[in-house]
Symmetry: C2
Subunit: 347 residues, 2 copies
Amino acid sequence: METVKVILWGLGAMGSGMAKDIVENKKGIEIVGAIGQNPQKIGKDLGEVLGLNKKLGITISKNPAEILHSTKADVVLHSTQSFTKDVFPEIKLIVESGKNVITIAEEMSAPQVETPDLANEMDALAKKHNVTILGTGVNPGFVLDTLILTLTGACQVISKIWAARINDLSPFGPTVMKTQGVGTTVEEFHKGVENGTIVGHIGFQQSIYLIAKSLGWELDKVVESREPIITKVYRETPHVQVQPGMVAGCRHVARGFYNDQEIITLEHPQQIHPELEGIKTGDYITIEGTPTIKFADEQEIPGGIGTMATAVNMIPQVINAKTGLLTMPELPVITALMGDVRKLVKR
Amino acid sequence: METVKVILWGLGAMGSGMAKDIVENKKGIEIVGAIGQNPQKIGKDLGEVLGLNKKLGITISKNPAEILHSTKADVVLHSTQSFTKDVFPEIKLIVESGKNVITIAEEMSAPQVETPDLANEMDALAKKHNVTILGTGVNPGFVLDTLILTLTGACQVISKIWAARINDLSPFGPTVMKTQGVGTTVEEFHKGVENGTIVGHIGFQQSIYLIAKSLGWELDKVVESREPIITKVYRETPHVQVQPGMVAGCRHVARGFYNDQEIITLEHPQQIHPELEGIKTGDYITIEGTPTIKFADEQEIPGGIGTMATAVNMIPQVINAKTGLLTMPELPVITALMGDVRKLVKR
């Protein structure tokens, strides 16, 4: 049986991690192309750039159209940017080359929310070219939508969903510190939220849409808030120092309302060193209903690995799926891929 | 749009609970037939038997063939017995009447394991009659297979799965006490396991099959053990008294091996009043890998409601699915049904 053939578009931390996962851990999948942007990577062998100490025979290209049209592949793993309007031309190019797309662009987990016109266009395009488009990742895509929805499956009735993903930003670099407002004064934080430089989490609108749509809840409105996490103690990382009274992170909360009742609450407080104020990281999901279900994971599912894993793990589901623009809840149960992926694929 | 039409076959605690859930909680679904066995229910109106204080216009019949062939319906919710060989003739009858089947017969969650010939026959029959057959329930069907698999979706590699479902048998009646060995001496317990009167949990073989198949693990063997839970303290329920030194329940464990390594361990200790010896009930899932994921629910998902809920909640997925005999991991994510089910169904 032929191997499952994958092209990587985007070779930052996420794309490179997916490539490594495929090469090191997966059976029956082969990387047949790699598209990058970083001049230091272009023209080099993918294996070398991944630090694998062996060549893979794949030269990193900066020319997407050329690679996509000259290379036969089942799916493109796409990880370049976060917003649908930015990735749309790239996804269009992939689809027109007749390949399935898995993207980790956060908004693409449900592009219907922010860009319904682009969503319709992508759906039509995918159907025309007989391929599937899926946006996934750890969040949006998994923890605060697919996993929540799965847990509701054991309920007859639900009245409210509350979930929190509490993580530690300490390992991240200066860009993340800026977009989360770490190290700012309270005033700077509020200004940053206002002018859009402090963004918090990208994906709440999508997660709430996926939850409500799948359950059949019709929400009146979704409200987001971004509040500063003001530290009482000194916290620091190699990239930032935060004095008491300053901002250690962003408490981003999204609330979905129906008839003036808050029926979905998703919280994602992100800060450096939460343990210094006794805050436990973790993923917490409470579904109030018949029955009430409370699941918790005190070692939160790590964002980076989780995103790389969900993208790679959906390869067989996406190849097997009907054509069009799909979302995670529409596809079969996501699982790790421990066997030969060729056996899972119907081509 | 036409309502989704359901026939219930089996009106014990589970079937009646599903009927009540549909009547009281679901929009766009209608019960159009009911098949029972209990002479006290036959000929009566379903609403009356469910204690709804209103008639539903559905007379409970003891004649499956008649109801199935005279009534147009999308799906039959089937809850009569546990083993595939026992329910096979009933499922055949449903399929031949051109209706989809959702059954809570434990072995039907993966009939390939114990009865591969019957599984093949059902698959062919379902395809011939253009319908879908699904076995589901809280366990097997959800907690120790579908939910575990979903959690592995965020992993790049997994090396071992350990999960435990620790519950309290105190609310159950005399039949469950017998099949779990509650109130026996240790000697009686071992004899009961040997002669098959003490069965423990039905469904481990199926859950392990679903996990391994979906992950792509090829197991060498699956070993089950049933050990007595010997109480140190006096425990009692309205149906049984257990003196210290006697058996308060059955610790049923199933282990899946690959190359002599135990890579799947599923534990299901079932006993009355576990709290009397400080044992917490709950569902515990640990996936060792990259990353390691540990989820826990200290109020275990209740078996009865969970089984009724999963069966009803899968109605749209089963109606929309391709034809044949399917398993839970092959179908889209299970969710609660809070909206009009007609909107979810493609007919």
